[in-house]
């Protein structure tokens, strides 16, 4: 019985985390966009406008839930839930610190990629259910984009998996620091098993993973529908894309999913490439920085810092680069990223055979 109790606590904890992160994320996004554009952003509600997103969500909760007369009611009403739950379930398999993971499964990475693909289904449901040309166009674009970009993202991930030889995210994390059970070599020649820190991260263990990381990061922008890959929303052409018809809390759920997705894909990037919960500080002789800064609390701190900086980069990119056209995006995906990711995968195989 206690077993189930723990499950519920973990589920509620993850939900409150994603809700809290979405509030913080929206606030950060507004502030960052404002500073980039030489404005101040929200300043009125709370100190420096810090309560603004809380006020926004309270407003959204009070709004009427409108279902268009000609909409496919069930698809329309279920879509936001499907979109959010797909992302939310992905959180279950993310490791936060050594020994701290909501669901310790040996196919964690596979599970996450399977479950977040369902988001596309939710978006299609939303677009189709709205019975609106803009929405269905947005949904089709989203489906095309996410399905396409899953291929370079998948290949980039497979190149990590080939190096790590496991799909268990906790094992992949442990391999990138001083807690590793096996020998770790920096760039294939320098044994850093005892030194740890920055040098044992996957991107430095096998330098071609740096390219894989960039490919994964670009693809992850596309998967979370962030600019410059926000053609599903394209507010200038499609009004607001697949969520045009949603109001109140349903609209909020779509946004919650977007921000949770940002965190999720960034955290996967951190786990696979940037050392997960491992410290960036190496052991230098007697100064055992890595040993001192490894532990459950440190692990949470490191993973959150790394993930939030990646989320920050996503926001930075959004307010810098313009939205690309749909054919340009397909070109980039199929003609550049996919072959490059494939090459990374091949190099990974060779690397594993000859250098590890």
């Amino acid at each position: 019985m206690n077993y189930y109790f723990t499950y519920f606590i973990a589920a509620i904890g993850l939900f409150s985390f994603s809700a809290f992160f979405a509030l913080f994320g929206v606030y950060a996004e507004r502030k960052i966009s404002a500073f980039i554009q030489d404005r101040l952003g929200p300043t009125e509600t709370g100190k420096y406008g810090s309560l603004q997103t809380l006020a926004d969500i309270l407003k959204m909760l009070q709004k009427e839930l409108i279902v268009p007369a000609a909409a496919d009611k069930w698809l329309f009403m279920l879509a936001p839930a499907v979109i959010f739950i797909a992302v939310y379930l992905g959180f279950a398999a993310l490791p936060w610190a050594p020994g701290l993971i909501p669901s310790k499964t040996n196919i964690g990475l596979y599970y996450i990629f399977a479950i977040i693909s369902i988001e596309t289904l939710g978006i299609l449901m939303a677009g189709w259910g709205s019975n609106n040309k803009y929405s269905i166009l947005g949904a089709m674009r989203s489906a095309a984009q996410i399905i396409s970009y899953e291929i370079p993202a998948g290949f980039a991930i497979i190149s990590v998996v080939m190096i790590a030889q496991t799909l268990d995210l906790q094992v992949i994390s442990a391999q990138q620091g001083i807690l590793a059970a096996e020998k770790i070599k920096f760039a294939g020649f320098w044994d850093v098993s005892q030194i740890g820190g920055l040098f044992s991260w996957n991107v430095f263990r096998a330098p071609h993973l740096l390219i894989a990381f960039v490919i994964y990061f670009i693809a992850s922008l596309a998967e979370s529908n962030r600019a410059p890959f926000d053609i599903p929303e394209a507010e200038s052409e499609l009004v607001a894309g697949f969520h045009t018809e949603f109001t109140g809390i349903r609209f909020a759920l779509v946004f919650l999913a977007e921000y949770s997705m940002m965190f999720l894909v960034s955290m996967i990037a951190v786990i696979l490439f940037l050392g997960a919960w491992n410290t960036p500080l190496p052991n230098i002789g007697g100064v055992k920085l890595a040993t001192w800064t490894t532990g459950v609390a440190w692990g949470i701190l490191w993973v959150v810092i790394k993930t939030l900086s990646l989320v920050g980069v996503q926001m930075w990119i959004r307010w810098t680069l313009p939205r690309l056209r749909v054919d340009q995006l397909m070109n980039l995906c199929w003609k550049v990223l996919t072959p490059l990711a494939f090459a990374c995968m091949l190099i990974s195989g060779v690397w594993r055979l000859w250098l590890m």
């Binding site: 500073f35 980039i36 930075w316 680069l321």
Partner: protein, 196 residues
Amino acid sequence: MVQKVINAFTTAWKGLSLTVRHLFAGNGKREIVTVSDSNYFKQLEYGTNTIQYPKQQLPVPEVGRYQLDVEMDDCIVCDLCAKVCPVNCIDIESIKATEAIGQTSDGTTKRLYAAKFDIDMAKCMYCGLCTIVCPTECITMTNQYDKTVFQLSDLVYQFSDMTPEDAAEKRALFDKQQAEKQAAKLAAMKQKEGGA
């Protein structure tokens, strides 16, 4: 193709470094200086460009065209402003006085009461013609540019300080004087006729 990829990354990096410079530039409140200040355009290169409007206000030039205001004591109710107004936003109703009722600050004698002096600011197009034709310079544009109201009718500014009773009384007085004059005239004519 490689060249294209490199180009994409370098141009993207250029843009990103530009925005990150702005991200970490000063984010303090904008300093309030007039447009004539030599630092006015230079200060827009750093820090925020927007202002927190109700709390901060940009100083406006004195000669700008903002809302109309009428100094009623100086008005001689000549109706020139209403006649010149291209959009007919000024509505004046005058009552002749029985005698000179005073002087404006520049010494012009006032002979008319203004029973009504309404300016519909919702119609006004801020051309300033009325302020030019006014012989006593009683109609002016103030530097008050912020005026929001909850009802459209609140934008009709009423400058006349006469109550309807006052106006009726003055009207009656004038009519009485006219009647007296008429009577006097008639009497004079009668006398003339009788005399001839």
